[in-house]
């Protein structure tokens, strides 16, 4: 068995599957099945495709309920749990803020437009009944971006596991789900990026199973008058979070690790207590560059 690294592009980022296989052809076949699953999820939940599940739900806002398949219902149920365990900070309907925050042009939002946007946020108002979902107000939007990549990493890993793969991991732009250790039995060393220096690692974490995800203020942001505005936005006032540069969490599933790291970012200073209470291993870097971390042996 040899270790192969098969890169692919999905979800507008660089992804890879690292796996142990007898030869390159079987490694490519396996990685192909994994990347196909990632693309399936991207298509199904992309905001940019008019025929995606999300676009259909958003297009019917204020008008009609949309019937969802089981996978979507399960994801909506999970989103509800994220909302409740974050005291409303992880809100699937807060993606609408993207309308007023332009991270490419680096523009601050117009206060009136921002206020109007905040009116369209509110997961608690979303109506879910049996297999239907309805957004009660025209202009409301759901955005699966907050956990879609993590879910895709878990699903891709699951596809690989179904094919019998025991050694390897899926890396979707830093959201990593590990299936099992290196074929020699040792853990994979997963590097955590320095949130202020792109090519530098702040730590390297050995992982044999589970998932490692990072939420940070360096993925999409702009700076203006010495102030950093990142893409993680508080749904209550529509403002970017400021307390942490990045939060990395190790949990059994990427979708859980991603939920915990994003909620910790959103909770700002209170995020540390939340991470402690989570019981998972974490590494959090605050705005002064101070590292807080805890290794939990599950």
């Amino acid at each position: 068995m040899e270790v192969f690294r098969i890169p692919f592009s999905a979800m507008a980022s660089q992804c890879e599957v690292v796996l142990a296989a007898p030869d390159l052809a079987s490694a490519r076949a396996l990685a192909g099945a994994a990347s196909a699953e990632v693309l399936r999820i991207e298509h199904k939940y992309s905001r940019y495709r008019a025929d995606s599940m999300v676009s259909r739900i958003n297009a019917a806002a204020g008008a009609a309920a949309v019937v969802c398949d089981e996978e979507t219902l399960a994801l909506l149920q999970y989103a509800d749990e994220l909302y409740r365990s974050s005291d409303g900070l992880f809100d699937l309907s807060s993606g609408v803020l993207r309308r007023v925050w332009d991270f490419r042009l680096g523009r601050l939002p117009d206060p009136a437009a921002l206020a109007e946007c905040l009116n369209a946020i509110g997961w608690s108002r979303v109506q879910r009944e049996a297999d239907r979902i309805a957004l009660p107000q025209a202009g409301m939007q759901l955005d699966f971006g907050g956990f879609g990549k993590e879910y895709a990493a878990d699903r891709a890993a699951d596809i690989l596991r179904q094919q019998g793969l025991q050694h390897g991991y899926v890396n979707l732009a830093g959201d990593i789900r590990v299936l099992g250790p290196h074929p020699a039995g040792r853990p994979w060393q997963i590097g955590i990026q320095d949130p202020r220096q792109r090519d530098r690692l702040v730590a390297s974490i050995p992982v044999t199973h589970g998932a490692l995800t990072t939420s940070g203020d360096y993925e999409r942001y702009f700076e203006r008058d010495g102030q950093r505005y990142c893409h993680i936005l508080d749904p209550r006032d529509g403002q970017p979070v400021r307390y942490w540069r990045s939060v990395t969490v190790l949990a059994p599933l990427a979708i859980v690790a991603g939920g915990v790291s994003t909620i910790a970012m959103l909770k700002q200073q209170a995020g540390l207590d939340y991470l402690e209470a989570s019981g998972y291993s974490y590494l959090a870097i605050d705005q002064q560059g101070q590292i807080q971390h805890k290794i939990c042996h599950a």
């Binding site: 149920q77 878990d154 019998g164 039995g185 859980v256 939920g259 209470a277 989570s278």
Partner: protein, 368 residues
Amino acid sequence: MHSTLPRNTLLAAALSLPLLSAQAEAQPENGTLSLKYLDYQDSQPGARRVRVTAPELSLMTPVGSAWSLSASHIVDSITGASPAYHTEALVPLHDQRRATDLSVTHYSELSTATIGASYSAESDYVSRGLNLAATLSTEDKNTSWNLGVNLLHDSINPGNQVVIDEHKNVVDLSLGLTQVLSSRDLAQVLLGYSHGKGYFTDPYKIFDQRPRTRNHSTLLLRWNHHIEASGGTSRLAYRYYQDSFAIRAHTLTAEYVQPLPQGWSLTPQLRLYSQSAASFYVEHDLNSDPFPTNPPDGASFYTEEQRLAAYGARTMGITLSKRWGAWSADLRAQHYEQRNQWRWGGSGSRNLAPFRARIVQLALTRQF
């Protein structure tokens, strides 16, 4: 709104997502309790022969972190009739067999060791067994070896008192290698050798006198292949058997497991079998009808048992399985047909009635 420990709520919520392996990972090692019911009926044209109904209860439970305990109990109720010679003169029979197996397995990182005992009793036959088995895997778990020894001590006291307090002792040895060839292929080679000494004769047949030693060797080759396009798995197996009675047998088995939505799966099966006759098998001579064919003059060993004749057989089966939560159910139906002209590469034994059997088994299993 409430704030709760994310470890419990988020992970629990995530487990209802379609992430199969995550569910498996999160589960602790489970025990299983299963109840099976088998209904077997064989026949030849114009006559039903033996019927067996057999409820079986089995339990496997982890004990601590490194041990497991398995136990099973089965009750076979046997009724019907069996030929006194060849496929003629059906004699009624009625018996009940109770069998119990118990074994303990120890798991370490790359190996397992099992010790077990078995006991089964019918009115005329008691069997006691002891078995030892071990498996050893390489660090990458791609290669594993298994080794087994099985000792059997049987006591035979037929109701017709043809013999009294006869015995049979058998030692079985097995050695196997299982190799993961690729992410889709798994192959296995198993070698078996068995040495038996004692009473092998069937006391209820008219002309039956068999050697007091029976040794046999087996070679089993298996290949499981996962088919990406359908998500199914094919299982192919070939088994070669030869023994000191001069029986040579070949078995080819092909199975295909097709998973279906909502926890269903369907497994069709085809098995082809062929064997040569024992060296002391006496062919059915129609000229001696309606009396049994006499063994050759001066022969020390002879048998007119259909199972020691030359024949071929085909089994067609299908298994329907359904899993829901901690439960699973399997319903298996098989049709077996044996004909002398179906022997491969040679003529089969003559003048025997075709033999058929149908087997239905229902199994219900719960993990706990």
